[in-house]
């Protein structure tokens, strides 16, 4: 059954892909083909989602864990990899979240992409994307995980660049692929290091062998390092790329060039959560390296704050939400860093719902405003698109972590666990996380107010055409909104409360010496209330600045121009990378070509020799006869020498 969940989206995607090549004769035929592609992919996806729910029940509740081996993939010496579908609570949960959210996005896309000329291609990409993610989360070894890992990278490249005539979309697509590749480079080295250490890349074999290698060391660059730490850090570089953590995050905001359902799919349910999933999946390895966990915590916490700070000043509605994703992923990582893996995964799930909701809601707004994405040109929409307005409220409350919405529960347990971890970095993560909660609430409500309240800033022609989205887009929104309301308190006890041990089974390992999650339930009350009140404060500031005194934000920006520019330009990461990597690479490339190859190697090598022998050659006549003749002569001479040598050595 789990195998069917993985393969159904592949099947749907392939059928739609074939349909994309159909060249219908007229408009009606075109319409039929489009419809067919939509029905096939949506049906496959919805069936997969229903099966996934059944699988989840079977695995997580009834404890039917196991692995289906499909067929051999790569076998060389002891390096043995198979295609497989592994099912434990973590995988089952992931396939459920991924397929359910993806189903909602599939259905929504029918409405959103209504006018697009390449509907079958789009639906095909969406389904294949989902397939790659499912293959990733059901892998029983690192290499298949890497297949899904690179697969989602590829599909996101295709989806971000979906509107291929737009130069900015193409640039963003390449950037996404390359930045991910940089992460994947680390991930691949991590796989090699794992294999070298454990002589296997299968999770089960690795997990069994870890205790025996707890103190092993590895020699790199002449120094001895704790081997498990090296492995974990290399793999984490991959996670940083995929989950857009600080340093390798630059692709994510640019990825907004893709159609909005893509943003929802990439940023909510799939791809970016792969890094968090991987760390949770490898908890039995990460637990052995305090250094790696510390790094994970610091990177996560820093990203949370950094991305939130940038999100506060962005003017593109989708970019605000994109930075919010970065920031929320930071929360998930520092949860894992303090060994509260289940809390991280819990937040992954609630986030999948409210972030997909926010993106699709934003898509509904963009749709209503004739493709306007600039927050400064919105406002006053709430009466005109009431359903979108309500669901955006729900998404925002969940995102800001307000009780009793889903985000509250998961963010709460993460911050408590960080506080309770008893480590310095844990404390750091807690305070940073709490401050970030304030920023989160601020930018979320800034977005809400600028979009829906105040005076309309769009021109009248646009305002006149504002309309609520069709039902096919609203139902997925309502469905996700229900998830954003309920996922928190429904999941809480199973994920991190009383039933957690039974629920997770052996999917996640936590040392007794890392009791953050244990202690999280016994922290002082203020630890619980501080983030919540900071969120409230954030909302209050947003209301003050954007609803009550709308002139204040500009005044503040003028007072601190340096800070404002710094944030607006996203801490200048793009400029820095351009200066450090992109330009030097191209300059070096040209130099190696013109100087290295043409001037030095050719200059001293063949061309130098050539000028010496050219005389001879020109005397020998035209090239075809001349050089061939020389060549054949040289070969013959060789044969003669060979034979004579032989004769001499025999006879002589």
């Amino acid at each position: 059954m789990a195998v069917a969940v993985v393969l159904l989206p592949l099947l749907g995607g392939l059928i739609a892909g074939i349909l994309a090549f159909a060249t219908p004769a007229n408009h009606d035929a075109r319409h039929t083909v489009d419809r067919l592609a939509q029905y096939v992919t949506c049906a496959a996806m919805i069936v997969a989602a229903l099966l996934a729910v059944a699988v989840f029940y079977d695995v997580a509740v009834r404890g039917n864990v196991g692995t289906d081996d499909l067929f051999r993939w790569i076998e060389s010496g002891t390096f043995e990899v198979s295609w497989a579908v592994k099912m434990d609570t973590l995988s089952a949960l992931m396939i459920m979240v991924v397929s359910v959210v993806s189903s909602a996005i599939h259905v929504y896309s029918i409405g959103y992409m209504h006018h697009d000329p390449s509907i079958p291609r789009f639906m095909s990409y969406l389904s294949l994307f989902t397939f790659c993610m499912l293959a990733l989360v059901t892998s029983d070894n690192l290499v298949q995980l890497f297949f899904g890992w690179e697969g989602v990278g590829l599909m996101s490249y295709l989806l971000i660049g979906f509107w291929y005539e737009k130069p900015s979309a193409n640039a963003a697509a390449i950037k996404a692929f390359l930045v991910n590749r940089v992460g994947d480079f680390g991930f691949a080295l991590g796989i090699f290091a794992t294999y070298l250490m454990f002589d296997s890349v299968d999770f089960d074999a690795i997990f069994q062998a870890v205790p025996g290698k707890a103190d092993a060391t590895m020699r790199i660059f002449g120094g001895e390092f704790h081997a498990i730490t090296v492995v974990c850090l290399l793999l984490f570089v991959g996670a940083m790329g995929k989950s857009a953590q600080i340093g390798l995050h630059t692709w994510l905001p640019d990825a907004m060039e893709g159609p909005t359902p893509v943003s929802a799919l990439i940023h909510a349910a799939t791809m970016v959560t792969a890094g968090v999933f991987m760390v949770a999946r490898l908890s039995p390895v990460f637990e052995y390296s305090d250094v790696a966990l510390t790094v994970v915590t610091i990177v996560g916490a820093t990203t949370a704050l950094f991305a939130a700070s940038v999100g506060c000043v962005q003017n593109d509605i989708k970019r605000v939400i994109a930075y919010s994703t970065c920031s929320q992923l930071g929360y998930m990582f520092f949860a894992c860093g303090v060994s509260a893996y289940s809390a991280g995964v819990f937040h992954l799930m609630t986030h999948a719902f409210f972030k997909a909701l926010l993106f699709l809601g934003a898509g509904s707004v963009i749709h209503a405003l004739s493709d306007e994405q600039d927050l400064r040109k919105m406002g006053g929409l709430w009466r005109l698109i009431p359903v979108t307005y309500v669901v955006m409220w729900i998404g925002s409350l969940a995102g800001a972590g307000i009780w009793p919405f889903a985000g509250y529960y998961s963010k709460d347990i993460i911050l408590e666990a960080a506080f309770a971890s008893g480590t310095t970095v844990g404390q750091f993560a807690f305070w940073v996380g709490a401050a970030t909660a304030c920023l989160t609430a601020f930018y979320t409500f800034r977005l809400l107010i600028l979009t829906f309240h105040g005076a309309p800033h769009a021109d009248e022609a646009v305002m006149a055409r504002v309309h609520e989205s069709p039902a096919i887009m609203l139902w997925p929104l309502i469905f996700l909104a229900i998830g954003a309301v309920t996922a928190g308190f429904v999941g809480y006890s199973a994920f991190d409360g009383e039933g957690a041990d039974r629920f997770w089974g052996e999917a996640i390992l936590i040392f007794d010496s890392h009791p953050a999650l244990e202690h999280a339930h016994h922290v002082a009350p203020w630890v619980k209330f501080l983030p919540l009140s900071l969120s409230g404060l954030g909302i209050a500031i947003a209301v003050l600045l954007y609803a009550i005194r709308p002139t204040l934000p500009d005044a503040i920006a003028r007072t601190f121009p340096g800070l404002h520019k710094f944030l607006l330009n996203k801490w200048y990461f793009d400029e820095l990378y351009d200066m450090l990597f992109v330009r030097p690479s191209f300059a070096l490339a040209r130099n190696l070509w013109k100087t290295g190859d043409e001037a030095i190697i050719d200059g001293f090598g063949p061309n130098g020799l050539a000028s010496g022998t050219l005389n001879l050659a020109s005397r020998a006549g035209a090239l075809q006869s001349g050089f061939l003749y020389h060549y054949a002569f040289a070969m013959l001479a060789g044969v003669v020498i060979l034979v004579s040598w032989y004769l001499f050595s025999r006879l002589g």
């Binding site: 590829l154 390449i174 050089f627 060549y631 032989y646 050595s649």
Partner: protein, 502 residues
């Protein structure tokens, strides 16, 4: 021996076909048409025959199979001896398949001296298959060097405007290499007293001699691969060669070097191989990074793909000298994969070159809106070239890197940067040609792939995906031979250590 001499048949069938084509008489159009069809049928039949070599291959044993032996120059101890093992076998179907594709790819683009062209290709097929199945030093040398004659003709007669310079460069490089190899062969001959490759593979050459012989062979193979810094002939040769010439050059001829290392350097000179492995790693690392960067700056599509070939072959040389099962199998898979992928990429360039007569990247853009089938074929090969999991490129690269990491994590990390750079130049190329708005002059009416072109690409796409998703049949074939080779090297390493210890 009463068994069917399948290797000889595969080797010489194309030559018989070539002779047949020479006999064709009639008007120039008739000759051209008949030459094309004859070449197609001959190459198809040869390919089918070669598949039976694969079907009947026993992958459990590392021994040479389908051995044929005939006295040739008895007085000098030179024998006509053919045979294949798990290392060489798969290159034969690769060669025969690519020959069909070359014939098809030249169907319309070659209009002058078609008969001679087809003869050259079939003659080359004979040389190539013979090279991979030769088990006699003398025979090997003839086939190895013999391939260059048709290749010369193909570049020299049907090539582009700078063919004189390119062929000249090709000539100088290869000559320099083969002179040294020839000397080494003489030395081998005098030392071992035989030209039988199976015997030589188990012969223990004195260590002092091994180093020199190794270097001499290396000179020849390194040019063929080509390794940095003797690679500069390749971009020029590719640029001037007709499409099918590039296909066979990238697809098969470059593999001669990699195969040579596996057939000669490693088994015959194991001690020297072990000692000089770091040197090979160094050159491979430079090749991967240097040529990937150079590829990034190219403005000519064919040059870009030629440079990417050098980078990909850097993986092969690095993997070969790890002496690990993964490294060696990875190197062979990488060669097979590169044979398919780079051949396909040159065909991809050829498709638009045939239509627009320009190789400059700048003359294209936005092709996807007129050529969706072309775009998807290009996409598959681009992804295989960047080593995306699920394509053949991934299997080769990851195995090479797994092997290399065991020997030197730093070297593996450096070679792996090629994966990032490879993605950079390929994606950048693809974007400039396929994506964007279609605004350039003359592109407005460009046509998508014809049925003939689809027939060319379809088998390549299927093979690239097949090796990517289910490479087990390919890996199984080479398994025993690779293990055997490694145990030979380990034995040599052991005895060398014992000697040093004494």
């Amino acid at each position: 021996m009463t068994t069917f001499p399948i290797l000889s048949v595969t080797t010489f069938l194309p030559l018989v076909g070539a002779a047949f084509i020479l006999l064709i008489r009639g008007t120039p159009e008739e000759v051209a048409r008949n030459a094309r069809w004859t070449a197609l049928w001959v190459s198809l039949i040869t390919c089918v025959v070669s598949l039976f070599i694969w079907f009947g291959f026993d992958s459990r044993t590392p021994d040479f199979q389908y051995q044929e032996e005939a006295q040739w120059i008895a007085d000098f101890g030179i024998t006509y001896r053919l045979g294949v093992d798990g290392i060489s076998m798969l290159f034969i179907p690769l060669t025969t398949l690519l020959t069909i594709i070359c014939v098809l790819a030249s169907w319309e683009s070659i209009t002058e001296r078609v008969r001679e062209y087809m003869v050259a290709f079939l003659a080359m097929e004979t040389m190539m298959v013979g090279m991979f199945s030769a088990l006699d030093l003398f025979l090997f040398y003839i086939f190895f060097e013999g391939t260059l004659i048709p290749m010369f003709l193909i570049i020299g007669i049907w090539g582009g405007p700078r063919r004189v310079y390119s062929a000249f460069k090709f000539f100088l490089y290869t000559l320099a290499g083969s002179v040294l190899m020839l000397l080494a062969m003489l030395a081998i001959y005098s030392e071992a007293g035989t030209t039988s490759i199976p015997v030589l593979m188990t012969h223990r050459f004195p260590e002092s001699m091994q180093t020199w012989l190794w270097i001499a062979f290396f000179a020849s193979f390194a040019v063929k691969v080509p390794m940095w810094p003797v690679h500069t002939w390749l971009p020029d040769a590719h640029v001037e060669a007709p499409t099918a010439g590039s296909v066979i050059l990238a697809g098969v001829l470059l593999k001669f070097g990699g195969y040579g290392f596996l057939r000669f350097s490693l088994p015959m000179f194991p001690v020297a191989s072990i000692e000089l492995a770091p040197f090979v790693f160094g050159l491979s690392i430079i090749a991967v990074i240097y040529t990937s960067l150079v590829a990034l700056a190219q403005e000519d599509m064919k040059k870009l793909i030629a440079y990417s070939s050098v980078a990909h072959m850097g993986f092969v040389t690095a993997g070969t000298f790890t002496f690990t099962p993964q490294g060696l199998q990875g190197a062979i898979v990488q060669m097979l994969s590169h044979g398919l992928v780079s051949a396909a990429l040159f065909l991809i360039v050829g498709v638009v070159y045939d239509r627009m007569h320009s190789r400059l990247i700048d003359s294209y853009g936005g092709l996807v809106s007129r050529m969706p089938a072309y775009a998807i074929a290009f996409m598959v090969f681009m992804l295989a070239s960047v080593g995306l999991p699920g394509t053949s490129g991934f299997v080769g690269e990851i195995l090479v890197l797994v092997g290399l990491y065991q020997v030197s994590p730093v070297a593996a990390a450096l070679v792996a940067t090629g994966v990032v750079l490879g993605a950079a130049y390929m994606l950048y190329l693809y974007r400039r040609i396929v994506f964007g708005k279609l605004t350039k002059d003359g592109l407005a009416k460009i046509l998508d792939l014809s049925p003939r072109e689809i027939a060319v690409f379809a088998p390549l796409i299927l093979l690239v995906l097949w090796i990517g998703i289910y490479p087990a049949p390919v890996l199984d074939v080479m398994h025993a031979s690779v293990e055997n080779l490694i145990s030979q090297i380990d034995a040599a390493r052991g005895s060398a250590l014992a000697m040093a210890g004494r």
